[in-house]
Amino acid sequence: MIACVRLPALPVLAAVRQDPGLRGRPLVVGENAGRTVIAASIQARSRGVVPGMSLTHAEQCCPDAIVQPVDQVGTARVRQLLLRTLYRLTPEVEVSDAGYAFIDLRGSTWRWPDRDVLLETIDGRIRALLPARPALGLGATLFVSRLAADRAQPGAPRLVDDPASFLEPLPISCLPLDDEQREYVELLGLRTLGDLRRIPRVAFRRQFGLRALRLHDLAWGIDPRVIPPWRPPSRIEESTPLDPPLEDMEALQFVVRSLADRVGELLAAGGLGAREIVIRLDLDGSPPHRESVRYAYPLTTGQDLFDRIRGRLKRVRPAAPLERITLSVRHVEPAYVRQPGLLLRRDGLVEMLADAIGRLQEESRPELIQRVMVIADATPVPDRRYRLRPVTDSP
């Protein structure tokens, strides 16, 4: 079972959160560059304002509308708040900017044996967080749950046990039709999902093509899509002050090595790997110095992390003694991403070799590792026909 939480569009929520006086008023959030409507409050939508129309048209539909530019930072913050709140209830969540949040309730039975309690908790948490009351819909698939949420009232969740009878009377516009399909459907006189379902699948495929079979499946409530799960970003950082300030670059290597080991232990504890490592050197009376290295795959151990940053450290010539060293890793993700390389040795081999070649070339010079290029159209003089070139890709 999937729960869909319907809220006003996130840009609208961000604007209302910024200025509570806008709550309950016709608000249009637009993009200044394209002069188009990005999102509209319920009051504005009730007067015919829809996302995608021009701002001029929106002002004609709703003369007293308050038009505001999109607050990108505020929208991202609202999205993060919503995701973090729902993630605490169940780990499979996703939020779209259109104002729909999807929660996979499968597997949460042990923690939430009573579904009504869970729905009440979701409602309460969101109301405490955002200036809006959510409408909740429950269905077997993403498509059905979203339609259920569209037809639910705030405070009264809509549960769809029988998708066939629920979808039967719904208008055909519920389906994600493109312009051509919409026109064709109108020509055929199909008004509801029930009308569409009465067309045999084979005949539908013949008329609309193979790709449009997805629409037929949706009309029957079949939606194979799954929620792409969101995961909270992890930040892992280790720091050590240096008193007295450090001037010896050899000693710097030892300090970074110990920091890398500590970060490696934290990564291992969480079953995580990192694709980027950043070292910040705070200098005595000078601006801090930063070094960062990115990798093709997540690194998991302190040894790996240190090996990759060591070459950069050797070249560091700080302008002043070091007061503090901070090592942090970014792009943290589950370490299992690296494991296919263990199962498919060939793939892992290519990736690791490419990484090693890149590092060696970066640490010394590109000409260190070369490959023979055969120039087929050159004269048959060996020096012209065979050239050694620095490796730029993996073998």
Binding site: M352, L360, L368, V374, L388, P395
Partner: protein, 225 residues
């Protein structure tokens, strides 16, 4: 092998340790040298994987041709590294030997340390075979060799060292197979072209099979493509 015989061997191994009878088949993984006579000479079917092999001999004895044959063959099977300390590798000759240039990485270091570090990193990263063509004066090689050998053991990589000069005792110690090559005579085709050289090779040291074997064969030079 029958169970009773296996049981008897286990009992003997428990009682006599390394002196107990052992199966004649090689216990170690090997990579073919590309020369059947040399494969037979080593007693295990080629150069051992995860160990160091040493090809020694005077200038013009044919040891580099032997090594490059192995590199060409290995490059057909997977990533192969040729550490060209002397910067004298002839790509055309490698092409004649059938090397796969897509998988052949040529390392041209400025110092012994740089070359050994590159070999170590690439061996660890998954290169199947590493050939080190070291100069006559290879100062610092003995200090770097244990680290490289350690990586090669972990990564199942075969190491082949080609050396002109009389090698130091330390390198002799780390090598599992030492083959000394000598040129006996030049061989020519009927039309007068050089066909190759007749070489005589002797196994001076072998940790996997019986040392002391000798063999003589014609090491043919490949015809231009």
């Amino acid at each position: 092998m029958p169970d009773r015989l296996q049981q008897a061997l286990t009992v003997l191994e428990t009682r006599f340790g390394s002196a107990a009878p052992r199966p004649a088949e090689p216990r170690h993984a090997v990579r073919s040298s590309g020369i059947p006579e040399l494969d037979a000479l080593t007693g295990i079917g080629g150069w051992p994987v995860g160990r160091l092999s040493l090809l020694a001999g005077e200038n013009g004895s044919g040891k580099r041709t032997i090594a490059q044959r192995h590199v060409a063959l290995a490059s057909q099977e997977g990533a192969t590294v040729y550490v060209d300390f002397r910067a004298r590798l002839d790509p055309e000759f490698m092409h004649r030997l059938g090397a796969c240039f897509e998988r052949l990485l040529i390392v041209r270091p400025k110092t012994i340390k740089e070359g050994m570090e590159a070999a170590r990193v690439l061996a660890r990263a998954g290169a199947g075979s590493v050939c080190l063509d070291v100069p006559r004066d290879a100062k610092g090689l003995d200090a770097e060799l244990p680290h490289l050998l350690h990586r090669a053991q972990d990564a199942e990589c075969s190491l082949l060292l080609v050396h002109d000069a009389e090698v130091e005792d330390v390198i002799r110690y780390y090598a599992s197979v030492i083959v000394r090559v000598e040129r006996r005579r030049w061989a020519f085709h009927a039309d007068g072209d050089l066909a190759g050289i007749e070489v005589e090779a002797a196994v001076l040291k072998n940790r996997m099979a019986t040392p002391g074997r000798r063999a003589r064969w014609l090491l043919e030079y490949p015809r231009p493509r």
